[in-house]
């Protein structure tokens, strides 16, 4: 079985983000692997360990993604591809999906595993669009994957009415929730081995396509401005005798906030 996993480098959401003149201030930002993609990497490596599989990681984005891909190697990923092209700076989900389609078609994969969304955009579209473009099965928000045989897997999806148990014919795209696993911390041996492994870096031409062919010339949507989100202000905080302050707060809920 050949598994393709995606990983996006995103800003660390724990840090303070500043906006100036409609753009995010890049200075002082730190970048990490998208948390849900880390769950996707862990899920791929677990399938490899339990069932045998060849695992390939692909990351799209301009700049240096070496550290992130090496981290995934150290977790157990076999091959790494970095699509590094400055043209992709303003790409929307459809463009990313088209690029992934090219990568997929070059590798004859059985299963694609992605995080259910990226922490920087919180869009949650790319994996689903990829499956739609490829005309293959897709299940999103998955919390468990089990291999049935070479052509079939069983997944659990967190839906609106409960957990859906879905039998999926391969090839397929699965997007995973962070509830699926706890990503491992790479062992020292893995980290040392990862340093020696090669990363395949290529631009869109190297992938056999162009920015126009993946839809870059006719973006369906564009972010034209960033603003700092309205910050909620803390209100009144009470300390002291529990009975007294609790009664006071209930009084405020009734007479000030009027929620009861």
């Amino acid at each position: 079985m050949k598994i393709l996993t995606t990983a996006k480098k995103v800003v660390d959401v724990e840090l303070t983000i500043h906006v100036e003149n409609g753009a995010i201030v890049e200075d002082g930002l730190q970048y990490v692997i998208n948390a849900w993609d880390e769950n996707a990497v862990e899920a791929s490596v677990q399938l490899k360990e339990n069932n045998g599989a060849e695992t390939t990681l692909v990351s799209i984005g301009s700049g240096d993604n070496t550290d992130m891909i090496r981290k995934c190697y150290a977790m157990g990923i076999d091959n790494g591809i970095h699509i590094d092209d400055p043209a992709l700076e303003k790409a929307d989900s459809f463009v990313f999906a088209k690029v992934l389609q090219k990568v997929y078609e070059a590798g004859e994969y059985d299963l694609v595993i992605t995080g259910k969304q990226a922490q920087d955009t919180d869009s949650g579209q790319t994996g689903i669009i990829l499956a739609e473009c490829l005309g293959i099965a897709c299940v999103s928000n998955v919390i468990a994957i089990e291999i049935i045989d070479d052509g079939k897997i069983k997944v659990s999806r967190l839906g609106d009415m409960g957990t859906e148990i879905v039998e999926v014919v391969l090839p397929a795209v699965i997007t995973v929730s962070d509830s699926i696993n706890e990503p491992r911390l790479p062992a020292m041996r893995g980290i040392m081995m990862a340093k020696k492994k090669k990363i395949q870096v290529m631009d869109l031409a190297g992938l056999g396509t162009s920015y126009d062919e993946v839809g870059g010339g006719s973006l369906k949507s564009e972010v034209i401005e960033f603003m700092e989100s309205e910050k909620r202000q803390g209100g009144q905080k009470f300390e002291g005798d529990a009975a007294e302050i609790t009664a006071k707060v209930v009084d405020l809920l009734v007479n000030e906030a009027k929620v009861f």
């Binding site: 839906g159 009415m161 034209i224 929620v259």
Partner: protein
């Protein structure tokens, strides 16, 4: 003129509030409105769908549509969107909506935007606002296509009480089942429980509740208030609460009238899921807990002491 198709939010045969919220917004921007309802034994909802503010009701009612399946459900939406010639296709915030929207957009060659908090029309030009990076920033997004498929964030639009529509039912043919992704079973984990997405009051527990006894203590308060009962990620990871109870960036996004955070420190991912609530009450013994930075009312204290008093005081008022 804008034509808005709203995907009806139906749970256990009942039409949920987000449908009227989305239709109210559609009417407020002067759009023609239609709704598409998908499920089994739902034809009786036609009147409710009209009353929620729609002037055409596309209904796909078939036994094969009893359980959610993203492929066939999305096909119904595409069918309705084409028949109505909708240029705006709106989903309420739900796992189903998030799974369908990118499929529908791809099939309609439309743009797709999720977690929308506002939408601005200027002639043919569409712009939307949406939070990103765990709600630390807001993006203004320009839509370059004539059609937009959008998932609206919980609490973004308010229902207009005075809204009405007209009943005009169009039946849709049920699409073929998705043979590549077959639902074998639905393990329902919330039968009879209050739905987090709809609840007027949501009460969530965090690490401070420690164990089952702590959770049960808070649960009593939730039961009294008929409140939705949620959780921080810590209690889900600890195995105390079900996955579908997690409130946050990656779980449920809620915007109730009153949100009570009990023993929750307030990690950024949790805040991203509840900071749209009208009023927030936090109980935590750590006065420096970040949850107090967003709470309208904060009680610094031991929740095991505070919660029973809170319950008693609230019951006193309500009786």
């Amino acid at each position: 003129m804008a034509k808005v198709l709203v995907i009806a939010d139906i749970k256990q045969g009942e039409l949920k509030g987000s449908t009227a919220e989305l239709l109210s917004k559609a009417k407020a921007i002067g759009a023609e409105t239609a709704v598409v309802a998908i499920g089994s034994n739902i034809e009786s909802l036609a009147n409710d769908l009209a009353n929620a503010g729609s002037d055409t009701q596309y209904i796909a009612d078939d036994a094969s549509l009893e359980l959610f399946s993203a492929g066939p459900y999305a096909s119904c939406v595409v069918d309705a969107a084409n028949q109505f010639e909708a240029n705006l296709i709106w989903f309420g915030f739900s796992e189903g909506g998030k799974a369908m929207a990118p499929r529908v957009a791809t099939q309609l060659e439309a743009a797709c935007a999720t977690e929308i908090t506002d939408i601005v029309l200027d002639g043919d030009q569409i712009e939307v606002m949406r939070p990103a990076i765990a709600n630390k920033v807001t993006q203004k997004v320009k839509i370059n296509t004539k059609r937009l498929v959008a998932v609206i964030r919980a609490g973004a639009f308010e229902a207009d009480e005075g809204i009405s529509g007209t009943e005009n039912v169009v039946k849709l043919t049920a699409p073929a089942a998705d043979l590549k992704a077959v639902i074998k079973e639905l393990v329902s984990d919330a039968s009879g429980e209050i739905d987090l997405a709809d609840a007027d009051i949501v009460i969530s527990v965090g690490r401070g509740t420690k164990d089952q006894a702590g959770i049960d203590l808070v649960k009593e308060l939730a039961n009294d208030l008929a409140a939705g009962f949620g959780s921080s990620r810590a209690m889900v990871d600890g195995g105390f609460m079900a996955h579908n109870k997690q409130v946050g960036q990656t779980g449920k996004i809620v915007a109730p009238t009153l949100y009570m955070a009990i023993g929750i420190s307030g990690a950024i991912q949790h805040l991203a899921g509840m900071n749209g609530s009208k009023t927030i009450l936090a109980v935590n013994k750590d006065p420096e807990a970040p949850i107090f930075n967003v709470a309208d009312y904060g009680i610094v204290g031991d929740l095991f002491e505070v919660v029973p008093i809170l319950r008693e005081e609230i019951n006193k008022i309500r009786s």
